[in-house]
């Protein structure tokens, strides 16, 4: 430790700070681990986000505590005690300390980035693999017949956003359009998020899903629910007058058999309407784009 020559005057301060820091950091990390982080565990992706949040808090706690105790320690111990103005010791800098600080922060940052990239790349958490929309020439507007899926292992569900509600189309079931989102448990789902007018954002909170709905774009997002129960759907991108009311709390994750019963019922209920609905396509353009007052 030749380069880190610790001055005599620094020693008591450093020792005290180190003890305070270690004690408070252990307490802080233990406290951080007690918290249950949203969006909890209704889906594989949500659980992964919860875990990442916990990891970030565990890493951030010692950094936060370290800086705060440095500030408070300076405020208490390095306060001027005399009435007249006196100057402190002329310390102009310390290269090894600076290099160490930058190196430690770089290691932390690179660890976080690598961790994030690995999480992103690993297949079971392939959330928000949003492919950009196909270009308009490939599959044009309402007349497009880009019927996707049918036999794949993933259930294909299209989320259609418009001012100010979401509807859902099940490609594997004749493109039936429903007003609530039902998903079978333990089955990978491929959500195709698109919009009919302006930008919305499909946020299924408990499922850990958030994907912008852009007009003319098919934004793909993968999710696998692992617990049955209801979930909330909200719009997370400002979309005009009733943005705050663009919500639905009746989303359901159900068992496969319940799902089959439900979707059959939907197909029956909406049989008449289905004939008027445009055929299933990656995205749709309304005609014309209306200007509201």
């Amino acid at each position: 430790m030749g380069v880190f020559r610790i001055e005599e005057a620094d020693r008591p301060h450093l020792l005290r700070l180190l003890i305070i820091w270690v004690v408070l950091s252990i307490v802080g990390i233990l406290a951080a681990l007690q918290i249950h982080y949203p969006p909890y565990d209704q889906s594989v992706q949500g659980l992964d986000q919860s875990r990442t949040l916990a990891l970030l808090t565990v890493l951030a706690t010692p950094v936060f505590i370290g800086v705060v105790i440095m500030v408070l320690y300076s405020a208490i111990y390095f306060r001027r005690t005399t009435t007249e103005l006196v100057d402190g010791p002329p310390m102009l800098g310390n290269t090894p300390v600076q290099i160490a600080w930058i190196a430690i922060s770089a290691v932390l940052v690179l660890f976080l980035a690598v961790f994030g990239i690995v999480t992103l790349a690993s297949s079971n958490v392939a959330q928000a693999v949003g492919t950009p929309g196909r270009s308009i020439g490939q599959s044009g507007g309402q007349t497009g017949s880009g019927t996707i899926g049918g036999t794949g292992p993933e259930l294909q569900v299209q989320v259609v956003a418009q001012q100010w509600y979401f509807t859902y189309r099940y490609a594997d079931y004749g493109g039936v359009e429903t007003t609530h989102l039902y998903l079978p448990v333990d089955r990978p789902v491929e959500l195709h998020v698109t919009s009919l007018d302006i930008i919305h954002s499909f946020w299924a909170y408990q499922l850990g899903v958030k994907a912008d709905a852009n007009p003319g774009v098919d934004n793909i997002f993968h999710v696998t629910a692992q617990k049955t129960g209801s979930f909330q759907v909200r719009c997370a991108e400002l979309c005009g007058l009733w943005h705050g009311h663009m919500a639905d709390s009746e989303g359901q994750v159900v068992s496969q058999s319940e799902f089959d019963t439900w979707i059959a019922q939907q197909q029956k209920d909406y049989e008449v309407i289905s004939k008027a609905v445009p055929s299933y396509a990656p995205f749709y353009f309304p005609e014309p784009l209306l200007k509201a007052g």
């Binding site: 600080w101 940052v109 994907a211 007009p215 009311h245």
Partner: protein
């Protein structure tokens, strides 16, 4: 081409001031509306309204007197002496076009504080509306107009709140210059701000715009004529950013006094320098995007309309290419203020001066490579996301350097606990929370949950209000004695600090939790389960507003009612701006000073005074 033998004695005899500006602006507006209605392609008046705002602004500037100089030169008349120090005394000079950087600084200060009052009232109305989980206090439409007005007004303010008043007033004094490099550009960068604020406020007459400050099309193309306020107002702020940046860069590069080497430059000047580079490069992109939006709204182009071959991603990319550097335009001068003020009250040299400068430049450079982290869930190509995640997280390294330099300066110091020092420490605490919460948002998996929620709202309020505004308060308590000649009351200042610090954290920390618990931004109706937290936040926000009222009271009380003139150097600081008398003479320095030492050489044995000033010298600094 005949060159006139002698300069004509004729000169424009219109008395130019803010009132003639307003008198010019009103017919200007109607002329623009008439022209736009005559030639506009659509029947929705957007062309007329936009041209009206532009004509009104140009007419206002002409009325204020910006065209006098070019016309006088053009016709060979005698140039009006705008900088005549004898004419430019008295309160009237604040309402006229002045080329004195000290007058412009104070004009900026008062204008921005008035704007801040309106932005703050908007925030209070928003919080009041959120007392109940449905839209019963404020109807949904009014609520999103409020969001738009509050956000854009605050963006206008925070773009200029440090560079405008403090940058303009102090940069020449700190570098030993007698004036700015381009005083007319400097004046222009101020005089476009009041029209921008008025035009923005005019949006209320059209029912307000629904897009918040991001202005995402197609929503912004669907919006009413109120959107035109957003476009023209923001474009004027872009003009202010660019003109101010050019002027600051030229001044700092070209007008430093002899001996003011780059390594003796005060950190505040470095903060202004780096933020000016950002403003110069980022604001034109905003202007271009706004121009495209104008064309889309008025002449039926479709840059941003997917149904006609455009893409809303174009706006999102252009906007955030400006928008992310913009938030560092806010914070870099604040970093400069913290690193500037802390050594003076720690009574120690800045610890690691060069590293601190590298930190500022690191933040500046990286801020151009992070903008797509605002688009992680928008459906951008997945391969881009790891890069933007990495670059965003990398920015915490230079930001960490700012903390290192400040903490190193405090180490074994003799801290003099003044009000500015308290605000600096408050900054460190708040910005730490702001920075750490930024890491949560930079990580793609967690951003999926946090994006567009109150978590991100709390994050940027911690960095902007907890960071920039706390630094602004530190700057106000520190430099206003030089700028106004009056000390702000330190007793009220201490109460102000603790009140504001507690109210701020009590307001914004719960919003992280609110965001984690599924509350999106910009909604007037929310999950009734969150009503308790929201009421807590609203009441804290009222207290926070109260602390700002206390600051305003302190400012008015000490500026206008208490005859307690400040000493030339009340803080016994070494840096150059404190070595001139108070009030600062019209020409700043008797003669151009010869700088012989750095501004932070406290405690160094036999340290020389910072500069050889020649004639009259203020109280000398310590050391």
């Amino acid at each position: 081409m005949v060159v006139p033998e002698r300069v004509s004695e004729r000169r424009l005899s219109i008395p130019n001031n803010a009132i003639t500006g307003i008198l010019f602006a009103i017919p200007g507006y109607f002329a623009g509306v008439w022209l736009g209605t005559l030639f506009g392609l659509n029947d929705d008046q957007n062309t007329g309204v936009i041209l009206g705002y532009i004509f009104a602004t140009v007419a206002f500037l002409a009325g204020v007197g910006f065209l006098n100089y070019p016309f006088e030169r053009l016709f060979g008349w005698r140039v009006s002496p705008l900088t005549d120090p004898d004419e430019n005394r008295g309160v009237g000079r604040f309402f006229r076009l002045s080329l004195d950087h000290k007058v412009i600084g104070l004009q900026y200060l008062v204008t921005i504080l008035i704007m801040l009052l309106f932005g703050g009232i908007g925030a209070m109305m928003i919080r009041t509306s959120l007392l109940v989980p449905d839209s019963s206090i404020t109807p949904s439409g009014n609520y999103i107009s409020l969001i738009g007005l509050h956000s854009v007004m605050m963006i206008f303010i925070t773009s200029a709140v440090i560079v405008g008043p403090f940058g303009n007033y102090l940069v020449p004094l700190m570098i030993g210059a007698r004036r700015m490099a381009f005083p007319r550009l400097e004046a222009l960068s101020f005089w476009v701000v009041p029209p921008a604020a008025v035009i923005l406020a005019a949006a209320t007459f059209w029912g307000g715009f629904p897009t918040g400050w991001t202005g995402y099309p197609p929503l912004s193309e669907q919006a009413s004529q109120a959107m035109d306020s957003y476009i023209v107002g923001f474009a004027l702020i872009a003009v202010a950013l660019v003109t101010s940046a050019i002027n600051m860069l030229a001044t700092i590069i070209g007008l430093r006094a002899p001996g003011m080497t780059w390594t003796r430059l005060p950190m505040f000047v470095w903060g202004i320098f780096t933020t000016s580079i950002l403003g110069l490069l980022a604001a034109p992109v905003l202007a271009a995007a706004l121009f495209m939006l104008t064309l889309d709204r008025t002449t039926q182009t479709s840059f941003f309309l997917a149904s006609n071959g455009g893409s809303n991603y174009l706006w999102e990319n252009l906007f955030w290419f400006f928008g992310h550097p913009e938030v560092y335009i806010f914070i870099l001068p604040a970093f400069g203020i913290i690193m500037e003020i802390v050594p003076h009250f720690a009574r120690k040299p800045l610890w690691g001066y060069r590293t601190g400068v590298v930190g500022l430049f690191g933040v500046m450079l990286l801020s151009f490579f992070v903008w797509q982290h605002h688009l992680f869930v928008s459906g951008i190509a997945p391969v881009l996301r790891p890069f933007y995640m990495l670059s965003t997280e990398l920015i915490s390294i230079p930001t960490g350097i700012i903390f290192l330099v400040t903490l190193g300066t405090l180490w074994r110091a003799r801290v003099w606990f003044t009000v500015p020092m308290l605000f600096c420490m408050g900054f460190l605490f708040n910005f730490l929370i702001g920075g750490v919460s930024g890491v949560y948002l930079s990580d793609v998996p967690t951003d999926v949950t946090l994006h567009g929620s109150y978590f991100s709202m709390a994050h940027f309020h911690y960095t902007i209000m907890g960071g920039e505004i706390f630094a602004l308060m530190a700057a106000a308590y520190y430099w206003l004695p030089k700028m106004t000649g009056k000390m702000l009351s330190p007793t009220i200042g201490r109460i102000h600090f603790w009140w504001m610090f507690i109210a701020f954290n009590s307001t914004f920390f719960p919003l992280f939790i609110v965001g984690l618990l599924n509350m999106p931004r910009r909604v007037s109706s929310y999950d009734p389960a969150l009503v308790g937290l929201n009421r807590w936040v609203t009441i804290s926000a009222y207290f926070l507003f109260g602390s700002m009222v206390l600051f305003a009271a302190n400012l008015i009380y000490s500026w206008f009612f208490v005859a307690r003139p400040a000493l030339a150097n009340p803080w016994h600081a070494r840096s150059l701006e404190w070595q001139v008398p108070t009030p600062v003479p019209a020409r700043n320095f008797e003669r151009v000073p010869l700088v012989v030492a750095g501004p932070y050489d406290y405690g160094i044995p036999n340290a020389r005074p910072v500069a050889d000033l020649g004639g009259v010298v203020g109280a000398t600094g310590g050391g």
